[in-house]
């Protein structure tokens, strides 16, 4: 591999490494959000229906 080929490979690898790190961070965040939704759902299911106000979501 020539020096130019090494540097070009490094440049493309850097691009994909950064995009990959970004995707991993977003995936971790979505996992945390899914956990929070579960937590909230458990709280709602635990409460008697008459005690809470109906809220429209979506």
């Amino acid at each position: 591999m020539t020096t130019a080929e090494t540097y070009v490979t490094a440049a493309y690898c850097a691009v994909f490494a950064i995009v990959l790190v970004y995707v991993v961070i977003i995936a971790l965040k979505l996992t945390r959000l899914a956990r929070e939704v579960d937590e909230l759902a458990r709280r709602v299911e635990g409460e008697p229906a008459g005690e809470r106000e109906k809220a429209v979501v979506g």
């Binding site: 020539t2 020096t3 130019a4 080929e5 540097y7 070009v8 490094a10 440049a11 493309y12 850097a14 691009v15 950064i18 995009v19 970004y22 995707v23 977003i26 965040k29 979505l30 959000l33 929070e36 939704v37 909230l40 709280r43 709602v44 809470r52 106000e53 109906k54 809220a55 429209v56 979501v57 979506g58």
Partner: protein
């Protein structure tokens, strides 16, 4: 509908292209772009193999500019219509712009090392102006997170984002108005400085990176919207 219900609905918006289709398109286009860059486009007569960095470097730079412009446009929409989602969209677009901006600086530095023998040249106006633009938008996050969430933060962020967009034409035109420069000019008044497969590979790379940026924007925005809805839902249930 209850006021809380109205608040919960306020952060939602539907899009014409579903996210899985967009992700598949981004993956396909990036793969096609890489195939064209490495297997089809010929070596540049002047720069040789190292010129292959340009396909993604220039495309990423234009994508970063596009993200900052979208961020400014959404900031303007927020100030005009007081749309809470526009503030979130502006923030996410600027975040994308900063990620792509860091990629421009990294790939540019690698290319500079091969061609000029230096990782960075402070004498190059375009490099310095792009760094100024990058740092300006990096400071956007410092400003945004130094203010408590609410209308004041949204308004301050929007005004800052609108000021930043002025730097984009300055950064883009710097190379064209400079008297002495060594940074290559890709686009002149007479069109692109290349043709044939090089132009095809560049165009596909540009489209691929714009679609990739839009996909990442939508993914991040979906996460932010979900986060916001959860926060409001928690407030309603408290």
């Amino acid at each position: 509908m209850t006021p809380q219900g109205a608040q919960l609905r306020a952060v939602g918006r539907s899009y014409r292209i579903p996210l899985p289709a967009l992700s598949a398109a981004a993956l396909g286009l990036v793969t096609l772009a890489l195939a064209l860059v490495f297997f089809v486009a010929p070596n540049d007569a002047d720069q040789g193999f190292s010129q292959r960095i340009f396909y993604f470097h220039v495309s990423i730079a234009f994508t970063a500019y596009a993200c900052f412009i979208v961020g400014a446009w959404k900031a303007f929409v927020h100030l005009w219509k007081r749309d809470p989602l526009a503030d979130l969209e502006s923030y996410v677009a600027i975040h994308q712009g900063l990620i792509f901006g860091s990629l421009v600086l990294i790939t540019g530095s690698i290319w500079a090392k091969i061609s000029w023998g230096h990782w960075w040249l402070w004498s190059e106006d375009q490099l310095v102006l792009f760094l100024v633009l990058f740092l300006f938008y990096a400071a956007y996050f410092m400003l945004r997170f130094s203010v408590d969430p609410g209308p004041q933060r949204a308004n301050l962020s929007a005004v800052y984002a609108l000021f930043g967009v002025v730097l984009i034409p300055v950064s883009f035109l710097a190379i064209r108005i400079a008297k002495g420069f060594i940074h290559p000019v890709v686009f002149t008044r007479h069109g692109p400085n290349f043709g044939g497969w090089i132009l095809v590979a560049y165009c596909v790379s540009q489209v691929a990176l714009l679609v990739l940026a839009y996909t990442l924007y939508r993914v991040e925005l979906a996460g932010k919207r979900l986060d916001e809805r959860l926060r409001r839902l928690r407030e309603v249930l408290a």
